[in-house]
Symmetry: C2
Subunit: 247 residues, 2 copies
């Protein structure tokens, strides 16, 4: 069992159980030991264990059946699940390729209308902007632009290669990202993007405009990611209607 402190017990337990399932120790369809038994083994109370199981149930990984037992769902494990991974790096790494970046460029620039709107600022307010072409195995796959308030992260800090991830840099400044909302649009490559992503002009692309906020709703980061349509199969896990099949 992991000894990672600072995180609620049920999340740590859930991590352990998830690892158990993903490692193949618990095959899909298999039945878990009973809750009292499992709680005893993991040295926690049954209630804490139940909280962890509830998390994994919500995640779609486990399925408790009243009176019978708790079973492992053979859920398709998504490689790049949009609703779970926030960072482009993770998405690339998840497909087994080595992530990289080129053409990194950071500067202060006036906010475009939609970016300004996401921040709730007037058009043209100067923002720190970080533009990168993300690569997978040295092949360009995503063109990303990140914006944030210059008081939080100036252009130099944004491009700082030390902490790599902008998310981590924000977290260190007390702005941990809690969630993001992404809207998707199809697009075709104009001359500029075509060159950056090394695709023919007119190629199909998927653009993703994302607003990342902290837990208390402060917009901390806005980004525009342009994906090569042929490089990614962007997937989403969608929960079913489940029960409310009324009327």
């Amino acid at each position: 069992m992991s000894t990672n402190a600072r995180r609620s017990l049920r999340h740590r337990l859930a991590d352990d159980l998830r690892a158990l399932v993903l490692s193949g120790e618990l095959a899909p369809g298999a039945q878990l030991p009973s809750e009292p038994e499992l709680a005893r083994r993991m040295r926690v109370s049954r209630s804490s264990l139940r909280s962890a199981i509830a998390l994994l149930e919500e995640e779609g990984l486990l399925r408790p059946v009243h009176g019978s037992g708790t079973y492992v769902n053979d859920r398709p494990l998504l490689r790049d699940d949009l609703s779970r991974n926030l960072s482009g790096t993770e998405m690339i790494a998840a497909t087994g390729r080595t992530p990289g970046a080129r053409l990194t460029e950071a500067r202060l620039e006036p906010a475009p209308p939609d970016v300004a709107a996401a921040f709730g600022l007037p058009d043209g307010t100067p923002l720190s902007a970080l533009r990168r072409v993300r690569t997978a195995d040295d092949q360009p796959v995503i063109d990303t632009t990140d914006w944030c308030r210059p008081e939080v992260l100036d252009p130099v800090a944004m491009a700082d290669p030390v902490d790599g991830s902008v998310y981590r840099a924000l977290a260190e400044r007390g702005l941990a990202i809690h969630h993001g909302v992404a809207t998707m649009r199809p697009a075709v490559a104009d001359a500029r993007i075509a060159e950056r992503l090394e695709v023919p002009e007119g190629s199909l692309l998927l653009t993703l405009f994302q607003t990342d906020s902290t837990a208390d709703g402060v917009v901390a980061l806005v980004s525009l990611e342009i994906y090569r349509a042929d490089a990614f199969l962007i997937s989403v896990y969608r929960r079913g209607p489940g029960d409310d099949a009324s009327a």
Copy 2:
């Protein structure tokens, strides 16, 4: 409090709390009554209430703070959240427009390769197929095709307007959809789609290939949905990295 039986108590409680928040009764940033107090008011035990709160925390709606209280996150309310709504009808209705369908056509046809693969069947296996153009305020917006095994739903039953939703028809036959996995791709309209969706040939589209499964992993429905890019802003709520900002 809702009296909907047949559903675990914590889910019903979560529904009630969610309704409370969404109705504006509990404003974003507001603090909930303490757990013992709230449990007393809702006539349930504190443990059940806590389970419900945990659900809404995972959903991003509430934020319990150890030692302080539980607060309402001002989460952006998505109109059409991909990860939550499964049915096209719901998505249309969620934007405030009236959903409809035209050009409904159901028949038995051999499975295309990708559909067959999703079902784990050999290419060309005959499947029930239902093709529809979904409309919003009588304007065509989505071209959908649904496939399922003919033993489960024959073409006539699929097109049956009585129960309207294919999901409901499946649920009545013991195949309640538990989750789906959708992959997205940009596309351009060919002549056939252009005519069906009433857009110029070459217009940008978003295609969504989805595999819907029951809780025990049986693939019950496969569908291909072609969205007009200008009619929908498809959004996804993405959970943040939150805690594991290690190394």
